[in-house]
């Protein structure tokens, strides 16, 4: 078994300087730009970025794939969040198995507990799920929720069994592996669109919300305060924390583009110039390339910047409506 601390570091990408092979960079997307006179995208699913920079389809082609997660320390064990339920592979994607029944639908986000990889959580639009066997089976995890809609989830990398979930009416926290949830009173009473946790400072969390902009927590999600007055009423679908520098963070949204803070959220600057449109759905800092920020722009594709958004370069996936970026570090042998 991988020592617990090592597993945490692998999961968060904090050991990338020692890596002998790159992390695998996944994107969950739907190709909607060419979708006309149809309710179905022309393609959808998980793509990964090959060394050549080419994006290659990975896993089953299912509608409504929202994200992918790899078991900490075991990148061959993968879970896909999809409209059809949770799809699991234990052989690096050679075979897949749906591990949820008919009751589970519209899974938007999925996460392993970095300190206990057997424990996993899923946010579905009809209520959250929990798994105690690494995603092989799932149970409903609705206790304590006033409304069941959830869209984003993180497993606290500092405390096993602690998770935060973004619901229709704010942020909820669980300290018993999702057996029960308690609403965080200081979180905004609106739909939480994205939750992220810092890779370097575990108590630092950032949330993007619907109509209420960006919110920061500096105490592990116990209390929250709004940040960035410039996007205070925006729908922010994207949020990212730099895994190398806790002072650097980014949010993005509809008509908002990309906004960057380099001082821990004290001030924010618009860094949209250079992107084709101001509709950003996913942001992620590349753990492999220090300071590189990836942005998924609605139906235009992926772009990256190595200067915190001052300039942007074409990163492919043209025509995609992005839902998530996920970096999975390799196992060090």
């Amino acid at each position: 078994m991988i020592p617990r601390l090592l597993a945490v570091l692998l999961a968060t990408g904090a050991l990338t300087a020692c890596a002998t092979e790159p992390a695998r960079f996944y994107a969950a997307v739907a190709m909607t730009k060419a979708q006309q006179n149809s309710s179905v995208p022309t393609d959808s699913g998980i793509y990964y970025r090959a060394d050549s920079g080419e994006w290659r389809h990975f896993g089953p082609r299912i509608l409504g794939i929202g994200s992918i997660a790899a078991e900490p320390g075991n990148p061959e064990h993968l879970l896909i969040a999809s409209a059809d339920g949770v799809i699991r592979s234990t052989d690096g994607g050679r075979t897949w198995r749906k591990t949820t029944g008919w009751e589970v639908v519209d899974v938007r986000a999925i996460a392993f507990d970095p300190l206990n990889p057997r424990q996993a959580y899923a946010a579905t639009q009809w209520g959250p799920l929990r798994s105690a066997d690494a995603g092989a089976t799932w149970q409903l995890a609705q206790q304590g929720l006033a409304k069941l809609y959830t869209q984003t989830v993180i497993a606290d990398r500092a405390q096993s069994g602690r998770a935060l979930i973004g619901a229709e009416d704010g942020i909820y926290v669980s300290t018993d592996a999702a057996h029960s949830w308690q609403r965080v009173d200081s979180s905004p009473e609106t739909t939480i669109l994205r939750l992220v946790q810092s890779g370097v400072e575990a108590r630092l969390l950032l949330a993007g919300t619907q109509h209420r902009g960006a919110w920061l927590s500096r105490d592990g999600g116990a209390t929250w305060a709004q940040t960035d007055p410039g996007s205070a009423t925006a729908n922010l679908y994207a949020a990212a924390l730099n895994p190398h520098d806790s002072a650097v963070m980014a949010v993005g949204g509809w008509d908002t583009g990309v906004r960057i803070s380099t001082d821990g959220g004290a001030t924010w600057a618009d860094r949209t110039a250079g992107l084709p449109v101001k509709h950003v759905f996913v942001l992620a800092f590349d753990p492999e390339v220090k300071g590189r920020l990836w942005a998924s722009v609605f139906e235009e594709g992926s772009f990256y910047s190595d200067d915190l958004g001052l300039t942007w370069l074409d990163g492919g996936l043209h025509g995609a409506y992005g839902f998530d970026y996920v970096f999975v570090p390799p196992v060090r042998r």
Binding site: N37, S38, W102, D106, Y149, E168, W254, D255, F281
Partner: protein, 639 residues
């Protein structure tokens, strides 16, 4: 002798009893009327099947659908041509998700033995490698799981490596049955979600017909058969010469304006000989399944002696994932809103409504008037109003897409969703109330809503329109007079005044627009507090059109739109209808009893909410669908 379909399962038996308690044999069901009904049904069934088979030409592999192939396989006719066609139908790879699953299962179940090894292997290959998504509507799910159930039955014993989803045949069978049982339970307890859709009725008939025809499990086969009876009963009590009338959950633009060219009418012809023949995929599959409707349904469908009558039904909205609202109700762990349907069913017309509001995403028709026509197929025998509404609030209530993209994504397939001249819509700013052949619509439209107007559609088949000085607009539709009183004057516009559909937007949705979409007019009224009164009457009740107009003019009517829309109207039958937006309407001072609204209630059938029992009635005949015990019981009163 009609050949029995391959592996077609016997239709479950029915218990026949006398009301006094004595048992009689099935011979009673073979009374002349039943025999005649059955014979005509078989003739129509054969016509559909033979037409499907005849589509194949030996030298032409471009014609024919999966279901046509299934028909050829079932009868063992045109086999070579059908197989040649099947060779190319999956190329380069399957598409359509559950719309691929069910026709493929129809092919396999109707005659896999006739297929060559290549086609058999190809179909098995795609069940392994093509991952059909489950979709996001209730009809998608029922089709998906009925098909998956039968596929798991067909490939029984196969392991996970044979399946797209990595589950074994046994696991897929269990999961599919779980959903199907759940859907049947919910539908027979609190009503159908995609209720009374003249098009989507076919998407429920397909999976149920597959189960009736080919499920090996007798109990499930029986349940499916009972569900078909249930859905067809739902249809026959609100149809007019085969046209599905009354409020609809979902309807497309063409179906609004040419209401007979739709699956429900095609089914009405197959099942009961109503309306005109239309070759239709869903009807074909039903014909192939071996299902035959209980004769009582045809007797109801053709019985005009009981008309007019009132038909009330309870339904539910699509599940709401967000913004469910304080007035929503919980079923299991899902939220929905009650739908209260009311139809006045006359031999010459049907006026039917729901209470209005946001009951279904995108394609709701809150109310409509349909009048009888002798040649329904191309008729535009309809009159209705709509408050066009679109918003991300609605979209995210029912769909998983994001707030800022959901409207755009909806309009990628439902092109008119975000257009001010659309004719189907639910609206949270609408309240409708009907009593007999009179109806009141009220609106409280916020200033910032996307389309702040009410559209009333006068179809091109409307005749003798009179804009009266009294404020009433009179019109005639076939054998029916109707009067419309807008609370706030409007202006006339052509339908499709933006030119969206007429310009070809939306692909198949607007195909043939000139033929079905031209020549209609809309009365468009723009006011925050708004509404109208509708009074309908059969022409046979009046000496003349002028007499009808005079009678309506004389009806007491007071209304206000000052602070909120409100109306007090004395209808032709003398009932005093009162409605104030946001309040429970009343008839003769008695508030409507929404709490006691039945699942079904008409002279032809009753069902209480939660009972899971529907009693269908015609004369002394009773046909009871008992979903609790999974039995059908037919009784006859003693002479």
């Amino acid at each position: 002798m009609i050949p029995r379909p391959t592996k077609l399962r016997a239709v479950p038996s029915i218990l026949f009893v006398l009301a006094a308690g004595g048992w009689i044999g099935p011979a009673l069901a073979a009374a002349p009327a039943d025999a005649e009904i059955a014979r005509h049904f078989q003739e129509r069934r054969e016509k559909l099947i033979q037409t499907a088979i005849a589509i194949f030409e030996p030298a032409d592999a471009t014609q024919g659908t999966f279901l046509d192939v299934a028909a050829a396989l079932q009868r063992g006719e045109n086999l070579a041509a059908a197989q040649a066609r099947l060779n190319v139908l999956n190329e380069p790879r399957p598409t359509g998700n559950m719309f691929w699953m069910y026709p493929v299962m129809a092919v396999l179940l109707n005659g896999e033995a006739h297929l060559d090894a290549g086609n058999r292997a190809r179909l098995a290959h795609w069940w392994r490698h093509y991952w059909p998504s489950r979709g996001d509507t209730e009809n998608h799910w029922v089709m998906y799981y009925a098909s998956l159930y039968l596929a798991a039955q067909h490939y029984a014993g196969t392991g996970p490596e044979h399946w797209f989803n990595g589950q074994s045949a046994a696991e897929n069978l269990t999961e599919a049955r779980g959903y199907l049982e759940h859907w049947m339970q919910v539908t027979t307890t609190v009503g159908q979600g995609e209720y009374d859709s003249p098009g989507y009725i076919g998407e429920y008939v397909v999976p149920l017909a597959l189960l009736v025809g080919w499920a090996e499990d007798a109990a499930l086969r029986q349940k499916a058969r009972m569900m078909l009876d249930y859905i067809f009963f739902d249809y026959v009590v609100e149809q007019l010469n085969g046209q599905y009338a009354g409020a609809h959950s979902r309807v497309y633009p063409r179906q609004l304006l040419q209401p007979a060219r739709v699956t429900a009418s095609a089914l009405g012809w197959l099942l009961f000989g109503l309306g005109d023949y239309q070759q239709n995929a869903q009807s074909l599959l039903l014909a192939l399944s071996g299902y035959a409707p209980p004769p009582i349904l045809e007797r109801i469908a053709r019985d005009t002696s009981a008309r007019p009558y009132v038909n009330r039904e309870f339904k539910r909205t699509r599940w709401r994932m967000r913004h469910a609202g304080a007035d929503s109700m919980v079923v299991g762990d899902k939220r929905t809103l009650p739908v209260y349907k009311y139809s006045h069913v006359d031999r010459d017309f049907v006026l039917g409504s729901s209470q209005g509001g946001l009951l279904q995403p995108i394609q709701q028709q809150t109310w409509n008037l349909r009048w009888r026509v002798d040649e329904p197929l191309d008729a535009s025998n309809t009159f209705f109003a709509v408050q066009p509404y679109s918003s991300p609030h609605e979209g995210t209530m029912y769909f998983g897409a994001d707030w800022d993209t959901v409207t755009d994504l909806i309009a990628r397939s439902k092109t008119d969703y975000d257009s001010p001249d659309k004719l189907a819509s639910g609206s949270p700013h609408e309240q409708v109330f009907q009593h007999g052949p009179a109806l009141i619509g009220l609106y409280d439209i916020p200033a910032d809503t996307r389309f702040p107007h009410v559209t009333t559609l006068f179809s091109r088949d409307t005749e003798d329109l009179v804009e009266d000085e009294s404020g009433w607009i009179f019109a005639r539709g076939g054998p029916v007079y109707f009067a419309y009183r807008p609370l706030v004057p409007g202006e006339w516009k052509p339908n499709d005044w933006t030119g969206l559909l007429g310009g070809g937007a939306g692909g198949w949705i607007s195909t043939g627009f000139l033929e079905w979409g031209s020549g209609h007019r809309c009365y468009v009224s723009t006011a925050r507090h708004n509404g109208y009164v509708v009074q309908v009457a059969p022409a046979r009740d009046f000496d003349s059109y002028a007499a009808f107009q005079a009678a309506v003019r004389a009806l007491p009517l007071t209304f206000s739109t000052a602070t909120v829309a409100e109306v007090t109207f004395t209808a032709l039958d003398g009932s005093v209808l009162r409605a104030r937006y946001g309040e429970v309407p009343s008839v003769n001072g008695e508030p409507l009893d929404y709490a006691g609204w039945p699942l079904f209630e008409s002279p032809f059938g009753v069902a209480d909410r939660g009972s899971r029992r529907l009693e269908i009635r015609h004369g002394a005949e009773r046909y009871r669908l008992d979903f609790e015990n999974n039995v059908i019981m037919q009784t006859f009163a003693q002479p």
